[in-house]
């Protein structure tokens, strides 16, 4: 009970501090990129892309898959490890996770679980989608840490990315 009271007092104190924090002026910070529901759920196959913010990996059969953080999945043929061949890229907004079984790839598109059919890697199709399966995975915050950002306002649409800009007195930080 004592601890709860202390926690509550601390929370109140911190809350109060956050509100009364003096203006920090114009700083470098991340601004949400909003998209319509249709655009944020659009999964498309593209030509191979350069890996910039490489993410998690999974290997199955001759292919290795790597997430491009928040953007999609790179597919590379590593049947001959000495000469890997990039096969393509699947654009999946806010993708961070992946695993595979047989011909199917399981990933996240924002907070939805999506299943892709990879039977033909040149013609990948979306098999199914479970809405809001991972409410906390795609938290609308930038992937970077120790940065300021403009708090996401989901009434403006789904957050499908972040861009670095000069922003005036941002109220979010992580």
């Amino acid at each position: 009970m004592k601890y709860i009271s202390i926690s509550v007092v601390c929370a109140l104190l911190f809350g109060a501090c956050a509100k009364k924090r003096p203006s920090i002026g114009i700083v470098d910070g991340y601004v949400p990129i909003y998209a319509s529901v249709a655009a944020s759920e659009s999964i498309t196959q593209m030509a191979p892309q350069t890996i910039v913010e490489g993410g998690k990996i999974a290997k199955l059969g001759r292919y290795i898959f790597q997430v491009e953080n928040n953007k999609g999945i790179h597919i590379t043929d590593v049947n001959n490890p000495a000469t890997p061949i990039k096969k393509g890229f699947i654009s999946i907004p806010m993708c961070q996770e992946l695993t595979l079984k047989g011909n199917y790839l399981y990933s996240n598109n924002l907070s939805d679980l999506v299943v892709l059919n990879l039977t033909d890697v040149n013609a990948i199709t979306v098999s199914s989608r479970i809405k809001n399966a991972f409410p906390e995975i795609s938290l609308p915050t930038p992937i970077q840490t120790n940065v300021y950002f403009e708090c996401a306002d989901l009434s403006k649409g789904a957050v499908i990315g972040w861009e670095l800009k000069k922003i005036d007195n941002p109220s979010c930080r992580k």
Binding site: T50, I51, P81, P135, I137
Partner: protein, 250 residues
């Protein structure tokens, strides 16, 4: 007669090849390919085991039936803890890492995972786990102050015992092949430990360059390293001495 001998020879050859292929996959890799599941890095939140897909989000473990792989069906949602970040399957167990705990769940009933035990760390950090036989290895990265490799004896799965702690620089994901333990050290590269004595990891080699190393998958004799800018491939025919093969980037 010669024809029959030839036939027998081919039958044996095919059998031997099949047997060898089924043995090449190492137990330390994240998933077994026997059921058609991918190998995953230790930092993953999604895995498949048999006809089930398991996911961990911030606090829940979800079990989906994927008997029809195109359309997962959610079976159970289990509240595990807070700040869950990783999941690793080993046999009929799931090892789940949060920023302060290692949780062990049984999936002997794959649809309804049940908790067997948990270990609470004294410090907070990140927490991927890999397992070999009766030993679990987990790295913890403390923000700003380095990190550790913790070794747990899990012979008694209900009461894991921390048998060793080794200091590291900035650990992320890890993986096992035979008696080699590969640990990604972020900007400090990749470290290779011998776990010939499973409770006593011994540093054998460190590889570092300008890249940031995050996680590994080991399949056959190839070590796939997830780095920020792509994937490095190393030959680990000599398990303690990875030899660079190629780099996936552009």
């Amino acid at each position: 007669m010669q024809k029959i001998m030839k036939k027998i020879f081919y039958t044996i050859a095919v059998f031997v090849m099949f047997f060898m292929a089924s043995c090449t996959k190492d137990g330390g890799s994240s998933s077994s390919s026997a059921d058609g599941s991918s190998s995953n890095g230790s930092l993953t939140r999604f895995i498949t085991v048999g006809n089930y897909l398991y996911s961990v989000d911030f606090k829940n473990l979800k079990a989906y039936n994927i008997s029809n792989p195109a359309t997962p069906v959610l079976k159970t949602t289990t509240s595990v803890g807070f700040n869950i970040e990783t999941i690793f399957p080993y046999g009929d167990k799931l090892f789940i890492g949060s920023n302060q705990n290692m949780f062990i769940y049984s999936i002997s009933n794959p649809e309804a995972p049940s908790k067997l035990s948990e270990v609470t760390y004294f410090v907070r950090g990140r927490d991927p786990i890999v397992v070999k036989d009766t030993v679990a290895y987990s790295t913890l990265r403390n923000f700003g102050t380095g990190g550790t490799l913790s070794v747990f004896n899990i012979k008694n799965i209900n009461t894991p015992v921390n048998v060793n702690t080794t200091f590291l620089n900035s650990p992320y994901g890890l993986g096992i092949k035979d008696s080699a333990l590969y640990i990604c050290e972020g900007p400090n590269g990749l470290k290779v430990f011998s776990i010939y004595k499973p409770h006593l990891p011994v540093l054998k080699k460190q590889i570092s360059n300008t890249e940031t190393f995050y996680d590994v998958i080991v399949e056959d004799n190839i070590l796939f390293c997830y780095i920020k800018g792509g994937i490095y491939l190393y030959d680990v025919s000599n398990i303690y001495n990875p030899v660079f093969i190629s780099f996936i980037k552009n």
